[in-house]
């Protein structure tokens, strides 16, 4: 299969995995706050592991370009949060019916997914097995994030089917950005270190401002630290096995 088609398949499956996040909500109307904290921590650990794997893949390349890209990635997310006025947005508010909040949550989730698409696209340009590893990592991480988004949308009175559909739709940008990034990097390989850096910087900044602060309140720092560290460690291990 052509690399672009393979990437389309992998990244679509990763985005589609979001729908599995709706499963915990099939039998219950609401999910406990502690679960949401744990889901955030799991997603955070997998994202940190993905950032680590990208940094390891690029460590013998051009470190200055990688760092430049990483700073750009951090500043890009910082800036998008600032202009969309979502800098201190709690993404996990249940029973919040303000229409503006609904738009903001979907916007932030879509931006978040887009950065992860860059990570998949870059990884695919490094090698096909690494692309598969990244798609699996991001896909698995989409599941707990899907659960949280579905819980938020459900608490706003949306039916589960619609909530699950919208959660997947918010991640469609992941596929698009994966394809665009991959295309650009293959056409201009000199961009690879900076593009990898961009993914690293944005993943790390997203974990710090979107996932961790809320999860600490939801489940307590110790639980969060255990889940995040072990999830990250597992991904470090998987990145070796994938080779």
């Amino acid at each position: 299969m052509a690399p672009t088609l393979t990437l389309l398949l992998y990244s679509s499956l990763a985005a589609g995995a979001t729908i599995l996040g709706a499963l915990p909500l099939v039998r219950r109307e609401r999910i406990p706050t502690r679960w949401i904290g744990g889901a955030n921590a799991l997603a955070a650990g997998l994202m940190l592991g993905a950032a680590y794997a990208l940094s390891k893949a690029g460590r013998h390349g051009q470190p200055a370009e990688l760092a430049f890209g990483a700073v750009l990635g951090v500043l890009f997310i910082f800036w998008t949060h600032r202009v969309s006025d979502t800098e201190n947005l709690d993404l996990n508010r249940l029973s919040e019916s303000d229409p503006v909040y609904g738009y903001q949550v979907l916007l932030v989730n879509a931006l978040h997914a887009a950065s992860e698409g860059v990570a998949i696209g870059v990884a695919m340009a490094v090698s096909t097995p690494f692309g598969l590893f990244m798609a699996v990592s991001i896909g698995v991480h989409n599941i707990p994030e899907g659960t949280i988004l579905c819980a938020v949308l459900r608490s706003r009175g949306m039916r589960l089917g619609e909530a699950a559909g919208l959660a997947v739709a918010a991640n469609v940008g992941q596929v698009l950005l994966a394809l665009v990034t991959h295309g650009l990097v293959v056409a201009a390989p000199a961009m690879l270190p900076a593009a990898g850096g961009f993914a690293i910087g944005s993943l790390i900044y997203l974990v710090l401002v979107e996932l961790l602060p809320e999860s600490y309140r939801q489940a307590g720092a110790t639980t969060i630290a255990v889940v995040t560290t072990v999830a990250m460690g597992a991904l470090v291990l998987l990145s070796e096995v994938a080779k």
Binding site: L48, A51, Y52, S55, K56, R59, P63, A64, L66, A67, A70, V71, V74, F78, H81, R82, E87, N88, I200, G201, I204, Y205, L208, V209, L212, P213, Y216, A221, T222, I224, A225, V226, T228, T229, V230, M232, G233, A234, V236, L237, S239, E240, V241
Partner: protein, 245 residues
């Protein structure tokens, strides 16, 4: 054994790298204030440096063995959980620092000291590859230790510790490097299999310390975007730094 014996050289080089850690206290010469924001920002910088260091450790450990590194990570997490439980049951003081602050100071010194054991073994085994590169390795590790001193001082200084005790504890945290480097150099075949466990242990303990202690306090005391920026940028700086050494 004479002064020119390679094992003595390994020890001397290791000692130089340990003393370099003390230089990490210097940027805090002019930081005295105890404001909540200062603590938040200093925590954020320490967190970024430690996360960056753990990325490097994980990359190194998994080159030796993925599973062993992962087991080491789990042991590192268990170690911090046990140390915290111990510190919760005992009243601790470090110089002028007391209570919850003293607990955090002791934890970071413990984490960095334990991680130096793994680094010491790494130094000793790399020297075993030949002494020609010894001076170069020493300079690299000495410079690499400075940000670790910065991380320790960033946690100690805003809580009222003197500059001298920041430097002193920073050096203390690196003492296992010369101590472990010598046996690791002399008995490299016996030590090398333990290396991925030790490196994974150090990485797990550091990441756990960052997530369980430094970040919750930073996000509790400072504005979210600024803390996020400081952590990410110092992490990137640490990655860049490691890449050039």
């Amino acid at each position: 054994m004479s002064w020119s014996h390679p094992a003595v050289l390994v020890f001397v080089y290791g000692a130089i790298t340990a003393v370099a850690t003390g230089l990490g206290a210097l940027p805090f010469l002019f930081v005295r204030s105890l404001s909540a924001r200062t603590i938040a920002y200093a925590n954020a910088v320490a967190a970024g440096l430690m996360l960056g260091a753990s990325f490097g450790l994980a990359a190194e450990g998994s080159d030796y063995g993925g599973w062993q590194t992962f087991v080491g990570v789990l042991l590192g997490v268990a170690f911090i959980l046990a140390t915290r439980r111990f510190l919760d049951r005992h009243e601790v003081e470090v110089g002028d620092v007391r209570g919850a602050d003293a607990r955090r100071v002791l934890l970071i010194v413990a984490v960095m000291t334990v991680h130096s054991f793994a680094e010491g073994v790494a130094i000793g085994s790399s020297f075993a590859g030949g002494m020609t590169l010894a001076a170069l390795i020493t300079v690299a590790i000495a410079v690499h230790n400075i940000p670790e001193g910065v991380a320790i001082s960033a946690v100690m200084r805003p809580r009222g510790a003197s500059l001298l005790s920041c430097a002193g504890w920073s050096i203390f945290s690196s003492l296992p490097q010369p101590l472990m480097a010598v046996p690791a150099y002399l008995f490299v075949d016996a030590f090398r299999p333990a290396l991925p466990y030790g490196i994974g242990f150090a990485a797990g303990a550091m990441v756990f310390m960052v997530l369980a202690e430094l970040l919750p306090e930073a996000f509790g005391k400072g504005p979210r975007p600024i803390v996020g920026l400081l952590v990410s940028l110092s992490l990137i700086a640490m990655l860049l730094f490691q890449a050039f050494l």
